[in-house]
Amino acid sequence: MEVRNLICINCPMGCPLTVEMDGDEVVNVSGNTCKRGDTYGRKEVTNPTRIVTSTVKVTGGEADMVSVKTKQDIPKGKIFECVKALKDVEVQAPVHIGDVIVSDVAGTGVDIIATRNVLK
């Protein structure tokens, strides 16, 4: 039985997790204080994912940049591709929280959405 020690990254508590594995199968997660920790532990050893945050340019608004994020977590291996896809994106103000900035980023099926309001 393989044992992997992780730090849960869901919230700043940073619970120390112990994930017990039998081959590719997760047998048990311990050390977590909430359900998110269990889910994270299982995912991290099989298919690690992250929420990616960045910024894109905005024109005609009260700010020059608008912050964005992936609406859901995406596979870790797709992070750089995702950020690269945002490099030349430019949007027009107004932008509102939750507006889709790029749909299906880097073939992940996940949209990039705005995380701040930029009014005209």
Partner: protein, 423 residues
């Protein structure tokens, strides 16, 4: 001169939450004075996720978290002035401020809530030898440049200090195409949250060198490189361990200092450990009716706890204005909170039982890394709380909850001692 019941200095997370809770406690006349051009404070540049799990039970980015509170402030029609700098507050709670529209003006407040936040410790405070070339930034300045202005401070980066902002910027600069070569930390442990080491450094293979510091900066016009060296237990560089890293940028993430110039000016007593005001159970300073919350009080790791603390300050300021807190406060000896044996400070520093809410969260930090130890709380000589902890570290704020009921059972209680014990 205009009159307000409550004047809140600062429109960041602390000021916003304090304003909302004061209004919900029935105070109509409230004004927030904010020096930036928008509300939200530092959250506006913290575009990463991880905010709000405690407050909203969902994971938000900084701007989204700020927006939740800004929306409440607007909905509750709480007044605020942007681009407005508070210059001075008198002991009589006369607030002197200025902006481009009103010029210099004065407001007479019944209560003041200090919510000015903190600033980054600058290079000047570090005694790093070397020239003063371009390319040396505090991590928060770099964060603002990248996330709000859209500029990259450099391409090859070394970071000194493992505070959370430095760790977050290591990831951010990497994602934007920079090469972050190393993060050096003077102490033998990280100053930031564990989760940030994992998701900002480990995820991208960025090395963290503990017990290391910058001993030289090379370059006259622009940073060309820095020399790191290992330090001994007295934090002195060990000769022969020097290592040169070529880079064009050095980011400093070496601590935050509460911004208390206004507080000091009005005669607020400052705790030398936190650099923030000394407060009682109501988060009230030594000046009656002057409250403090958020990073101006003590530097937090987590905005959710800032909001929680600021809500309490807002409620308490409201009670002060309405006179309810004074009415039921029988003159009684204050209980002193005594941080010792590993506990560096507590917020609050004193408790008056009569004015305490049913539940009181005491927050504190420890002075070193402790493994498999106990957080103990003594009421005078009796140990009443003894909680096992796997790890305690200076980078992570701790808390203990006390109840009014519990304290009323000890009518003669004079001192509550907080300590870390091995067993």
């Amino acid at each position: 001169m205009r009159n307000y019941d409550i004047v809140i200095v600062g429109g960041g997370p602390a000021g916003l939450a304090a304003a909302v809770s004061a209004r919900q406690s029935g105070i109509e006349s409230i004004i927030i004075l904010e020096r930036d051009k928008e509300l939200g404070g530092i959250l506006n540049q913290c575009i990463h996720n991880g905010f709000g799990l405690h407050t909203f039970k969902e994971e938000l980015t900084g701007p989204e978290y700020a927006d939740r509170f800004i929306a409440q402030v607007r909905e509750l029609k709480i007044e605020y002035k942007l681009n407005t700098m508070v210059l001075d507050i008198g002991q009589d709670k006369t607030v002197t401020a200025m902006n481009r529209e009103d010029g210099m003006f004065e407001i007479q407040a019944k209560a003041v809530i200090l919510a000015m936040g903190c600033r980054e410790r600058p290079r000047g405070a570090l005694n790093i030898p070397g020239y003063r070339p371009a390319g040396i930034y505090s991590a928060g300045t770099a964060q603002r440049l990248v996330n709000m202005e859209g500029y990259m401070p450099g391409r090859e980066v070394v970071i000194l200090g493992s505070g959370d902002i430095g760790l977050i910027m290591a990831r951010r600069m990497t994602l934007e195409g920079a090469k972050v070569k190393v993060v050096a930390e003077l102490m033998p442990y990280s100053g930031g949250l564990k989760r940030n080491i994992v998701q900002c450094l480990d995820d991208y293979g960025i090395p963290l060198k503990l017990s290391h510091t910058v001993v030289d900066i090379t370059g006259k016009e622009r940073v060309e490189g820095v020399t790191l060296a290992q330090v001994d237990e007295k934090n002195k560089p060990i000769p022969g361990t020097e290592e040169f890293y070529s880079c064009d940028t050095l980011l400093l993430s070496v601590g935050l200092i509460p911004e208390n110039e206004i507080s000091r000016g009005m005669g607020v007593t400052i705790n030398p450990v936190t650099s923030g005001p000394k407060v009682n159970e109501s988060l009230e300073t030594n000046l009656e009716g002057v409250f403090a919350c958020g990073n101006v009080l003590h530097v937090h790791d987590l905005v959710d706890f800032v909001s929680e603390e600021a809500s309490a300050a807002g409620r308490n300021a409201a009670a002060y204005v309405k006179g309810t807190s004074v009415a039921d406060a029988a003159p009684e000896a204050e209980i002193c909170l005594n941080p010792t044996a590993g506990v560096r400070y507590t917020v609050p520093s004193t408790i008056r039982r009569a004015r305490m809410e049913d539940n009181l969260t005491v927050r504190f930090r420890v002075g070193g890394v402790y493994k498999n130890c106990f957080v103990s709380v003594y009421f005078d000589d009796e140990r009443v709380i003894h909680r096992k902890r796997q790890v305690l570290a200076p980078g992570e704020m701790e808390e203990v909850k006390l109840t009014k009921e519990q304290l009323l059972q000890y009518p003669k209680l004079e001192q509550i001692t907080f300590k870390i014990e091995e067993e």
